[in-house]
Symmetry: D3
């Protein structure tokens, strides 16, 4: 089978085959009255408009906007821009096209580390929780939501907003949790449980593996309150789960954003809650600066101001001179 071509490798006249996210799909009429499909396709390397002129109604039924698609077609130029003339198109899933090279990571931005590897590491942190109730609680939540935890982003438009971003963010915080809890002499089990569960509501707030958007209950309830629901439900299935421990877990989840105008219905009211918020904030901000640098397209060593921080960020070294580091 032909090799996969990514959008940034497209050249006028080339026959290509590839996997893309169908971002927009419209059934339109030509001036002559014939139907055609007007699409926007995207992969990790770029975005292109595409047209499908033949067997339109047949292909129309095969896929929807939001789907991953496998496409064969030819690149041409229209109004000074490259455009793809589609010959064949179909939905792509890992089941059907994995062996032909399809991987969601081709078409949507993903975490740098392997999701399964990150999962394994997180499981080890769970096993280290000493408090039997907390260990049971986290274990049962992670077991139930494993498939979503493996792929979900940590947010729709903010920090870690890419495939497996939620896993990456949680793991990053867990890696910091033990040493910080010991440093500030707080309850390590409580802090780690807070870290592992603080964003669990995202699995209900966000929908879709490929293009993240908000679910109805995400819009109406929000991940903070939904995450507390998940913790409460799991605790209710653990015999004799201490109520005072549960209420602390609830507060950890409800207060982790740290301030009301970030939709936290409570501010942190004990040390573990404050520390959880501070670690979450640290990890989010560090990720946002990394993203600001990676996504910037300005020339020179400074990014533009169009990033979370609204200031230019230094991308490179100021110079390459000897600075004593060797």
């Amino acid at each position: 089978m032909k090799a996969i071509t990514q959008i940034n490798e497209f050249k006028e006249g080339a026959d290509i085959r590839g996997f893309f996210l169908c971002v927009e799909k419209h059934l339109r009429n030509t001036r002559g009255g014939d139907l055609y499909l007007d699409l926007v396709l995207r992969d990790r390397t770029g975005q292109i408009t595409a047209k499908l002129w033949k067997e339109v109604s047949e292909y129309h039924d095969k896929f929807s906007a939001g789907d991953a698609v496998v496409v064969a077609g030819q690149v041409d130029v229209y109004l000074d821009k490259l455009q793809l003339n589609i010959k064949k198109i179909n939905v792509a899933t890992v089941q059907s096209y994995g062996r032909y090279g399809y991987d969601p990571a081709l078409i949507v931005p993903s975490a740098k580390s392997d999701a399964k590897q990150m999962w394994k590491e997180l499981i080890i942190y769970i096993k280290k929780i000493n408090n039997k109730y907390l260990k049971m609680l986290v274990t049962s939540v992670y077991k139930e939501h494993k498939s979503k935890l493996l792929t979900y982003p940590a947010s729709v438009v903010m920090h870690h907003n890419y495939r497996s971003g939620l896993l990456e963010h949680t793991l990053s915080m867990a890696q910091l949790g033990t040493s910080l809890s010991e440093h500030y002499k707080v309850d390590t089990d409580l802090l780690m449980t807070g870290i592992l569960l603080h964003d669990i509501g995202k699995v209900r707030e966000i929908t879709s593996e490929l293009e993240a958007s908000y679910s109805d209950e995400g819009n109406l309830i929000g991940h903070i309150v939904l995450g507390r629901d998940i913790a409460i439900k799991a605790a209710s299935q653990i015999k004799k789960f201490p109520p005072d421990l549960l209420i602390k877990i609830e507060h950890l989840i409800l207060s982790h954003k740290g301030q009301y105008d970030w939709q936290s219905p409570k501010k942190p009211k004990f040390k573990e809650a404050l520390l959880l918020h501070l670690i979450d904030n640290m990890d989010a901000k560090m990720n946002l600066m990394e993203k600001a640098i990676e996504e910037d397209i300005e020339e020179g060593k400074w990014t533009s101001r169009r990033n979370y921080f609204r200031i230019p960020i230094l991308k490179d070294e100021l110079t390459n001179e000897d600075d004593g580091s060797k």
Copy 2:
């Protein structure tokens, strides 16, 4: 039995008997080394310090700060101020002292209308709900929390912060609900359910009948999220309660404060939710202005700036001249 004397009627030398809230209670030593009780007592009319010099340890065990107490004693003057020398003191409850005239309304500020009468009126509003699920929901919640609903304030320090204030506030909103929902063509059943349940979490957020303070779960979870819990639990016991209806009720409760910095984890996202917030805001603000006027102690027609609005409020008519109203 002797008549009840209120604090604002105390005169030097008088023997009095009365019911008070014991606001502070300290066991102290005289310079001579003897024990005595140093108290602060309060009723609806004022506040006074009180001392108990005899049989101290015996009386010490009989009551605590925060209790309603029945007291007999004599008024004297110390350092230019009236003070009460207590001869007898005991806890007062409606059970034990109701027949001698004790009524919590004597010692704490209360709503102007009778709680039972307001309750009856609210029940009528519940019966008018057409949607069978919503009627069952509100009925079951009100049945379960009746005793607290009869006496709780609507807040600890803000609007309607007096005995039965929650009932008064809810009833006031319910009285407006039908006409406003028809005016703005929204779902009356949904709005009325929102009105009746929006502050229900107060019954768990606040403790004590007499001096309101925050419970542990009030501090850590808050009435907004706790109120949603109460609604969810009640709905779970109603067969086939429609999930889409429940999620709307949840949103009504979660968003009723209207903005994040008032601890609302969501802003109103459909018309009934927005209208609920606006009615709640209207009723709270009107009550706060009424309180500002009633509690002000300045001479003249303007209050001081020490009120919720931070501006002088007009207390009286500008003049008494003919203004065309007769």
Copy 3:
């Protein structure tokens, strides 16, 4: 005479006749040096560019940007978009073209109810005012500004910003006024006068019937202060108008926006003023949510965030299942 065609019904090649708002008008030169008119036309259904190639200078004198125009022409396609080739164009007024079907409501967004009907209903509210001075005051103001009150919007870009929006907004508030004033035990005559006059300054702040914009005195003085002027002037012509009553009316108008950063030079300082502000706020917010839903063009049940509230608003039912409402 030919039927009127609205912009959303235009088809390539069709000969059309219609009424439009001329939004832009430029006299330009073709590369060949000939004059032509380059226009943008709009009606309630959409917007289109238009060209006029012949008898240019003659037609040029007949109308200006901002005018309502009657147009005959042919639809063609230019650069992939529909465009109108104008054959005849003239100013349209109700006087000259009303009998041919011209109605300003065809070309600008308008209130849903009929202006004359709303006016009649408002007059009834005025007649219900008991205080003779207040009734005279409102009557005289409404009499003087009747023609503008019938057509003006309530704002240029915010709530009720469409033809007769001011009337619709005032009527909506008046419909609520009596019951709310009784509920909160305030002076009904005073509140109703406040409702009827609070935005009267708009008739001087805003210019033009069709495209609303700010007048010079709107820019330099503003409707809040201008509205007070109108009330003062009308009162000065009423014999023995009580000065204390007038100052209250002035305050009602000056404080109705409720907070300084909405350009209110005073915050409400008595109950009627506070309630007026709260009703105004309620009516504006409910209208803004309705507009957010109507104007949204997103697919699905949620609007985009591009609305007054900066959040997605729920447009439809979550599902169509049985929800107990039948």
Copy 4:
């Protein structure tokens, strides 16, 4: 007649005579049931409590709180503090006691310069206005309000809040007006008129010569809108006053506070209005820093943070060393 003694010169046992502001006045009962007057007196140098024990009802009718009083009495000590036993007391006015040394400047803080001298200087600025309409306008306003302009403060609690402070503030701005208007090439007559009239509404917003407080129309309308009224009324009596000029004067007054949250219903929209605001702001801030330094009672070269700026202000030179200035 005996010399006047100021409060900071009082000594135990001394017989004194003096003029004071009666800040508080209460008619009370001794424990023995006799009436006495309990007063607080103040002059420029301090404050003291005073008692009057004899002929109480007779003296009670002679003066009220807020009056300037002439007092004879004896200083004694009560509860470790000086106190005045009053023998005689009466209202003091310039008419009745001026020849005995009474001057309001003795009992309330006053501007440093002489009010009449400042008035003369202001009149010269008015005469320099070239535009005949503006000169007539300012002249007529100043003529009408001369007596209040001579004594009023510029505010109740903020900048220039002392006797003749309004005059001092206006004169200070007028002294800057000509050079600044020439520098920024704006209309000098317009700017000077704005300077001279911007705070004229204070004569209606504030009441009382001695203790400033807000009038009813000050509370309900405010000096900004009232000042515009004064200007409009005066202009209406000038034949052919150009309407476009008047609307600019109105805007100058309405926008001079510069921002909405300082109760300006408009922000400055032309250069003279912006410059007026900037000069007003400069003069107020410079006065506030001067007051912060003068009123501070901390030892050392830094004031406390309890001033308008909420930061320590440098009161003295850092050191006395040679710094090149000689």
Copy 5:
């Protein structure tokens, strides 16, 4: 040699010669695979796209984006817009092309007054400083940074953001300094030194004569702190410069923006510092309003809201009627 043609004089078909700022420069491939240069050129009168088709690689080496260039070419039309076909292009400097008419003021916006004239005037202000240390300090700083002071803007995007804007802004403030310092009875030498040095850090914060942008140390340290460095370094070379005087100069520079959120690390803590801030603010705001009026392209007497003040500004007279000014 041919006359210089400015962009707003370009006509289709004309051969032109001119000086421009090369704003963008991209080396691209035609569809046929040939190289061409795709440029954006700008001068004081406008902006145009330009193409260079021949001897591409040779010309490519001669200039960069950001350079001033001298260009010969022919105007044609592409996609309905004028475009320049370049025949010759080269870097333009005052040295090489000054005698052919090149002046940076042709291609970038500049102060209205002549830089050398403004410099001379500033020198006179420096000479008037009485304190010998301060005079030496300012003299040495101005001597060292003369070339940049002659051409630098006062900011990149805000007030006085054009060639020699820094000089213009400083001179404008200096012209006000003496009279304001005398009026407010502050130390004139100190204030004038503050005026002359407050923005001196701009010479290190900003780079490039033509298109202003931030230097590395501008981004990382900022002109406020860099300006203090310049003052300290200059003072360190003056024998016996009084340390208490220096620390005041430092504070003047550090606090001149007046508030923390404008990146002032200190608020003004003595009178000269406060007055410096107020003059700086006045001069910046007056310039911003002038720019808002000059740069506005709306028809009519009001600007759009797209300016620093976010409100419409009055550009013209309201009318041309007799307003008493003649």
Copy 6:
């Protein structure tokens, strides 16, 4: 010699000897005209007023407010409160009274760990810096300011505001620095240098070992800018210190408060600067919550709202039940 008695152990009639901070000192006259000293003394356990009646002028010269003093006297009661009658008083220093038990930690709050021990630990962190320039820089700064670093607080009124608080805060951050810099893959040497130097300006901003207050340059320049001065000066004495490295250190110090309104003239613009700010913020907030809990005097498990966070903080366990932790 007699044992030291702390203020909270004082009893009426007791003869005591102790070390105190003299917080206030006033020379006053008795009514009889004799001089006496009126003092306020404080130690770690409380505060008391004290009087000295004999040999007043002799003792008056021996000490000042702000001094540590050694006192002998007798406790009596005045106006219902304990008071100390001083017999002997003198300044206490470690040199003169260390062997009699004087330790500054007796009279002012101090860090929990030993300052010398913390210093040793910090030196180890300095030695671990690999970059030779940075190691030299930090070493030289710490060597120069050792004595102040051992005792200074980290702030006057905020976090770590006690003896050796600066050392404690810096060490706490250094302990976190290595693992966090590795976690976020930033330059460890740069981050550690930032941690060790970020608050170094405090040694010039704050004065006095016992009662911290602001120095003149603290008030006028501030520790952020002064800290950068210290770093620049130290770097200037290191041969070939790379300028690009220095500018980064400068930025680390200037931006460590993270936002303008906390007086940071720059926001963090590269990763190490952002991480430094986040660690500083974390350590300050955790300390503030610890202080809020320790300093609270409310009964029950919740603190009052009078703390940095303005919310109640949970001080104790909710209950003592089995919570799975054993």
